[in-house]
Amino acid sequence: MQRTLIWDVPTRLFHWTLALSFALAWLTTGSDRWLAVHVFLGYLMMGLIGFRVIWGLLGTHYARFASFWYGPRAALAYLRTVLNRTAARHIGHNPTGSLAIYILMLLTLVVGVSGFFTLGGEEQQGVFAGTISLLQSRTFKKLHELSANLMLLVIIGHLSGVVAESLLHHENLARSMLSGNKMAEPGVPSATSRWGVAALLLALILGFGFWWFYYAVDTKLDQMRGEQESPHVKFIGTPLADNPQWRAECGSCHLAYHPNLLPSVSWKALLAGQAQHFGSDLALDASTSAALLEYAIANSADKQLTEASYKIGRSLKLAEAPLRISETPYWVKKHRKITTAQWQSDPIKSKANCAACHLDADEGTFLDAAMQIPAAPAKPKASQ
């Protein structure tokens, strides 16, 4: 038995980058704040799978699919031998591990593609922006979650296999995936390091990462220079309807809240009650009032044009007509962690000031990625 290189460097780099990406993606699930990171990891993992397919055809001996082209029957048969502790040692991938690899690669694609559709529908971002409605994307979101959970199960299976095999054959398989080496009989095929390919892969990963997160550095620099922050991820979907009259009439006293943020029953009540609009008589003439109502109804939350519309509408009881967006249960739930002190602080000041945190408030899209709680001025120490 002699120390032999089994796993080439690109394969190891692929393995650990994919593993780390999955872990980080799992941790950033459902977080508005870390959505940009979550999405980055999605693209990265898809890219890694793409690389692995190529490397499965062009890589060194044990990286090639040809060296671990086992079917499910072989995988089950091998699993049985592992369970009764008679499993034969494989220098490369064993049949059960191979099946896990194929399943994980396939699941990565399912998780990734369903994630891109979710992103396209909910946030109108990414490769599928504008191709799918919010309601259609709900199905993809379920698939995204289901397949990610399934992937976690397979990973747990994979880890159990690594532990079981390591114990059974008295070798540390995890360390082999780090060093690339295993003890093998003389004469078994060995791999070559392929540092050049690994360097290229690493350069691609880092380059993509730098390109993706450049905004974070740029935003900080802009802040230091006192410039306006730009959204984390730019909105690239279909813009919502805009109306100059709506902007002029509503926007003279407050943000011209986009009509997609309240159901049509609310807009009807607001315009019918325009003579007592939160203490003011709006003094709108009949034709203006009618034109505003027409625009509002055509773009109200009932139409479910955005994630916010859908969720605000869903949170209301049938025919419930709140007059303030901030009275809808979804709004209340989404803003529950913001303290009274934060609301009153500069530059927020008012619950009506959506634009203080939502960089896209004026467009009405309210994307997760365009939300930034502004840096609070130096806080006096809590005195409780």
């Binding site: 407050h254 939160f278 003094a283 709108l284 008012s350 009506a352 000031n353």
Partner: protein
Amino acid sequence: MKTSILACLALALPLCASANPILESYRTAAKQENPAFKDFSAATGQKFYTTKVGALSCAACHTDSPMAAGKHASTNKEILPLAPTANPKRFTDAANVEKWFKRNCNDVLKRACTAQEKGDFMSYVLSVK
């Protein structure tokens, strides 16, 4: 625009201010309201602008100077300057002016303004340089 500036340069200030057609329509209305009506007064308008009713006044939101930008009392939204000297779009659309008088008179005075009050107010704001 150019001719009106030239006219302003050539004529005395009060005449220049009263060239606004919206102000002229309030003059007609004021005469109908009160047969004893003589003229609008920028000084009365200034007093009206700063007089507080409860916590509110014109100046409460529009600031002490009609030349400056203000802030909406409850929403904190910026209000562009009132005086045409600082914001030439002001007092150019009669329906819009009437809408805002109706709205803001109700806000501050809890009643509609008279044509006299509107004319005095406008005379003051138009005269601010």
